[in-house]
Amino acid sequence: MISKKQVIHIANLSRIEISDKEAERFQKDFSDILNYFDLLKKAKTFSNKKNDFCITNFRKDEIVKFPDFDGKGKYIKVQKIYDN
């Protein structure tokens, strides 16, 4: 079971604003889903080795010029976010 307070905390970490009503709905959903996930507790796992999906063939970094650069010097232009 997950508390409503926890749900609001997770929403904040996820940078998603949720209403009180949404928090209640997610609380129910997450409780059901986490309950289902608890099935994994029964799995007899032992290995600690890395799975097959680790990338080992890194390429060298190289500087490639951005084709349609919109900015000044090193800075990319973005929209104004907030006023001082």
Binding site: R15, E17, Y36, L40, D68, I81, Y82
Partner: protein
């Protein structure tokens, strides 16, 4: 029409490249398969001079709307990107170099099994308009089934090509992890995502796969194509965990009929029961990181707010639908301090077990055959709670966890609704999968 039929038609001068493109562009989309149709672009591409040896450059096709085509809207079926235009094309789109008919509908950010989570609309199953086409590549599968496109490109993270292929009665290939470059695919879960074709025949799937399977320096997980020797006889395993009592008896019957006469043996993949939970923990964890970029700063939907934090909070609240929010938050939860070991780490270890299960079986067997889905297409609005929706993927997620190739092919119908058979192969053994799939395809046509 199939790719092969169009090739013949072009050869016999029954129609020109431009005429066939127009034929498809003028078709009415009665199933809401498309989000965007790209008439101008398609005509421009059709008029370009073609290299005679480059078959796919002459064939029209549809692209799932989470794969970028330069200059065309790439929405991921999300409000977050509803007006976003791609600045470059995905590697697979460049390699195909064909005629793009449009961008097809999907579940928002490919998160779903029915296209019902799309911000725009739900695609209808061409075999029954009251039913879903499956997801997340539901628009691609419906477009092919309704012959709005000869073939389409989709993406498969936990069954998103194979499930809609099964529900719509078309062929869908999820290639080996690393076989096809994902450059230009909007990432959902990077250790699971793979691009593949949805086609009318196995031969067509082979055409498209042969074109797009290629190492790409822009996707570090992509690898050189390997070829495993063509086989004359096949040893097939039927995992008992996929032929359980809960599956639709008509589905079971159709699969059994399709494999009659083939050399099969009952096998076990004992950790199958943990696959779905492991998949949903890993995929949501990766999604929570991948979708962090949709913060409204560089592109996409933006909210009005006083300070930076509330700008993020409001933008993301407005941008994402319920299912995407749910998955981002689930992923954030299983990666958060205090829960990481119990959920994320445990799921990774379980993933190891599932991969080992397959490795063991493939020491003795060439293929594993299962139903693609326990049931035929369900009704629009039928699955209301998240878990019952997640269970639609129960037969497809293991393949993504283990990075294996798998194909879904239509093998029959139950009450006019298609049934899909899944063939799972060894890594990079697509060639032999095609061989076996053609054999079964031929048998089912008789």
């Amino acid at each position: 029409m199939t790719i092969r039929e169009i090739e013949q038609g072009l050869k016999n001068k029954k129609f020109s490249v431009l005429e066939i493109a127009k034929f498809y562009l003028n078709k009415k989309d009665k199933v809401n398969a498309f989000i965007t149709r790209t008439k101008e672009l398609a005509i421009l591409q059709a008029k370009k001079k073609k290299d005679n040896n480059d078959l796919l450059s002459k064939i029209p096709y549809a692209v799932k709307d989470n794969i970028m085509v330069k200059g065309v809207k790439t929405t991921c079926a999300s409000k977050a990107l509803k007006d976003y235009r791609a600045l470059y094309s995905a590697t697979c789109v460049e390699r195909i170099n064909g005629i793009v008919l449009g961008k097809t509908n999907l579940d928002e950010f490919a998160m779903g099994s029915s296209t019902e989570t799309s911000f725009f609309h739900t695609t209808k199953n061409p075999h029954d308009f009251k039913r879903v086409p499956g997801g997340s590549s539901g628009g691609s599968a419906a477009a092919v089934a309704a012959d709005l496109a000869p073939y389409a490109i989709g993406s498969d993270t936990g069954g998103s090509i194979r499930l809609p292929a099964s529900f719509c009665g078309v062929v869908g290939l999820k290639p080996t992890y690393g076989a096809v470059s994902r450059y230009g695919l909007v990432a959902f879960a990077s250790s699971l995502d793979q691009i593949g074709p949805l086609t009318k025949t196995v031969e067509d799937a082979e055409f498209v796969f042969n074109k797009i399977a290629h190492k790409d320096k822009k996707d570090l997980t992509s690898l050189d194509r390997k070829f495993i020797k063509k086989k004359k006889t096949f040893k097939i395993g039927l995992p008992k965990e996929y032929f359980i009592s809960g599956i639709d008896p008509e589905v079971k019957k159709a699969i059994e009929k399709a494999i009659q006469g083939l050399k099969t043996e009952k096998i076990s993949l004992p950790n199958t029961k943990y696959a779905l939970a492991s998949y949903y923990i890993i995929s949501t964890a990766e999604a929570s990181a991948n979708l962090a970029r949709f913060d409204g700063i560089r592109y996409g939907n933006k909210a009005k707010a006083k300070d930076l934090l509330s700008f993020y909070l409001k933008t993301r609240a407005e941008s994402f639908g319920q299912e995407v929010k749910r998955r981002i938050m689930l992923g954030t939860f299983s990666l958060s301090s205090g829960y990481y070991d119990a959920y994320y780490n445990k799921a990774q270890k379980v993933r190891e077990l599932i991969t080992e299960d397959f490795k063991k079986v493939f020491q003795k067997f060439d293929f594993i055959i299962t139903p693609t889905s326990p049931s035929v297409a369900f009704k629009i609005g039928e699955k209301k709670d998240p878990i019952s929706m997640y269970l639609s993927d129960i037969f497809t997620v293991s393949v993504n966890l283990a990075g294996l190739p798998a194909i879904s092919i239509p093998v029959g119908k139950s009450n006019n609704l298609p049934i899909g058979l899944q063939i799972i192969g060894k890594p990079f053994d697509e060639e032999n999968i095609f061989q076996l799939a053609k054999l079964i395809e031929k048998k089912c046509q008789r």
